[in-house]
């Protein structure tokens, strides 16, 4: 309950700050919250539901893919050090590549459809997952493996009973970062080969310089993101119960 009131308070404060900034700036480029909320009914006419649906669809798949690729890789780099010594430099070399520059290659391989978008978002978020999972697994103290090894645990058991629970908090951090980044990249992945998606919607309104509607889209995006973060937090509270003292 207390958390809910605090969140509402923060929301109010954020809106106040926004309002203040808008008034101070005094340009259409930063409309006041009131103007933006007034534009909300128009969202329906703009099929906001479908925009949402497509964005969530792309987000969902790309996060699944980056988790499915990134988490095992991050774990393996540490737990299979011989493999890691090869992969680590590869990650460092490829992480900072501007993925947008690879867009032509991705389009060549995957066309213009959703798969190209999902690949792009995955390529951007997977590295964050790899690196933060890797660092989390590295921080697992050696002691937690000892008892299991003495009992004759195989690799899978070491993973299931030590590596995974010990690095779960790190994995959740990684997913949080990936989620935020994935949402923030919609704006340049949803600008080709589609007319749906929140990223498309926001960019399209930007093209029209319809700032109230553009900000309305941004508000929707923020709300969606907040809901997804809340889900992740709920998951975390459940799986990390053992940490509560």
């Amino acid at each position: 309950m207390a958390r809910v009131t605090k969140t509402l308070g923060a929301l109010l404060a954020l809106n106040l700050l926004w309002w203040l900034a808008a008034v101070l700036v005094g340009k259409p480029v930063l409309p006041t919250p009131l103007t933006v909320y007034a534009a909300f009914p128009q969202l329906l006419a703009h099929q906001i539901g479908w925009h949402l649906y497509f964005s969530l669809y792309r987000l969902g798949w790309s996060l699944v893919w980056s988790a499915v690729i990134g988490i095992p890789l991050g774990i393996l780099i540490v737990r299979a050090p011989r493999f890691g010594a090869w992969v680590d430099p590869v990650v460092y070399l490829t992480y900072p590549l501007p993925k947008i520059a690879l867009l032509p290659v991705v389009m060549l391989l995957a066309g213009l459809g959703d798969s190209a978008k999902i690949i792009m978002i995955t390529m951007i978020t997977v590295f964050q997952i790899i690196i933060s999972v890797r660092d989390a697994v590295r921080q697992v103290p050696a002691g937690v493996y000892k008892q299991l090894r003495v009992a004759g645990a195989n690799r899978w058991e070491l993973f299931r009973d030590a590596t995974w629970p010990a690095s779960l908090a790190g994995v959740l951090t990684a997913l949080r970062l990936a989620l935020g980044t994935a949402i923030a990249t919609l704006f340049f992945t949803e600008v080709y080969g589609t007319s749906y998606g929140l990223g498309y919607f926001i960019m399209d309104e930007w093209n029209r310089l319809d700032y109230p509607l553009m900000y309305a889209g941004i508000v929707v995006l923020a709300a969606v993101a907040f809901a997804l973060f809340a889900v992740l937090n709920a998951v975390e509270r459940r799986v990390l119960r053992w940490q509560q003292v």
Partner: protein, 300 residues
């Protein structure tokens, strides 16, 4: 840190020594990497702006979005833009006006041998930026052969180089791009299906901020410098402006010998019929909510 401006000046010093006298008016103009911006660069390089007591900085933008962000945030006094975007400026209540029409052009480019004319586009995929001037041009071309947007598949690809690559790889059938991308695509084997005439059909403009629009004397001097540059341009040939073409406009150096500059026209008002059509298009596409009056966007 050394200021980037100084770095540029030292690079440009070969052509002209800068005058030290301070200028009366400082202007910040946004340009696009397209041939319609060439006169501005020429005016800058040859010192025509300085002759008019204008201290002009040219800000090059790679994408219209960045330019429009700068326009909306009031960072620019003028910008190379186009008529449909101007409608968006009106929609955003920015109050920008047209100083002069420019000589930009778009082309429909394809790499499918079967597509020779606009009529061949029926049912084909065309990459462009929807609700923008390129699509406005496409609409008009289609209308000429009795088709409409419904007869083709329009797909958005915001990143121009990606658009070209997709066309070259035949992932899409055709695209609308401006120069110099048209030239680049041609050099890679694509062919131009149709191209707007940069003199007769003018949708690109030099737009100016309301503050500058009100200063009649200054816009006059600006356009005078522009006209001077147009003269110089029309008197010369492409290779005379190699540095501008490669560095600022973005032609690959290898293509410069093949570039044929258009015949640039002196500063002039955009035809009302074009404006009317563009504004109607903007209304139809939902870029604006009301139909704009061409009279409102002319310089006072």
């Amino acid at each position: 840190a050394p200021k980037e401006i100084r770095l540029k000046e030292s690079a440009a010093k070969s052509s002209k020594t800068t005058k030290t006298a301070t200028k009366d008016v400082t202007l910040n103009l946004g340009t696009m990497s397209a041939p319609e911006s060439i006169p501005l660069y020429v005016a800058k390089e040859k010192g025509y702006f300085e002759d008019q007591h204008l201290n002009v900085t040219l800000q090059n933008f790679k994408s219209p979005k960045d330019r429009d962000a700068a326009v909306a945030s009031g960072q620019l006094d003028g910008a190379v833009s186009d008529v449909v975007t101007l409608a968006a400026y009106e929609n955003g209540k920015l109050g920008w006006k047209i100083a002069t029409g420019l000589n930009g052009s778009f082309g429909i480019v394809s790499n499918q041998p079967a597509i020779k004319t606009v009529a061949d586009l029926r049912g084909k995929t065309i990459a462009t930026m929807p609700h923008q001037t390129p699509t406005f041009y496409l609409d008009q071309e289609l209308a000429k052969v009795g088709m409409s947007e419904k007869d083709v598949k329009i797909t958005e690809v915001a990143q121009v180089p990606a658009r070209i690559q997709l066309t070259l790889d035949r992932k899409i059938d055709a695209m609308i791009v401006p120069d110099p991308f048209m030239a680049i695509a041609k050099s890679k084997g694509a062919h131009v299906v149709a191209q707007s005439d940069p003199v007769a059909y003018q949708t690109t403009i030099l737009a100016v901020a309301p503050k500058l629009a009100k200063q009649k004397a200054v816009t006059k001097r600006l356009l005078a410098a522009y006209n001077q540059a147009v003269k110089t341009l029309n008197a010369g040939k492409a290779s005379d402006f190699e540095a501008i073409l490669t560095k600022d406009i973005g032609y690959p150096a290898a293509l410069v010998p093949k570039v044929k500059l258009v015949h640039y026209t002196q500063a002039h008002a955009v035809k009302t019929s074009v404006l009317k059509a563009a504004f109607a298009y903007a209304k139809a596409e939902g870029v604006t909510t009301t139909t704009l009056d061409p009279a409102n966007v002319a310089l006072p």
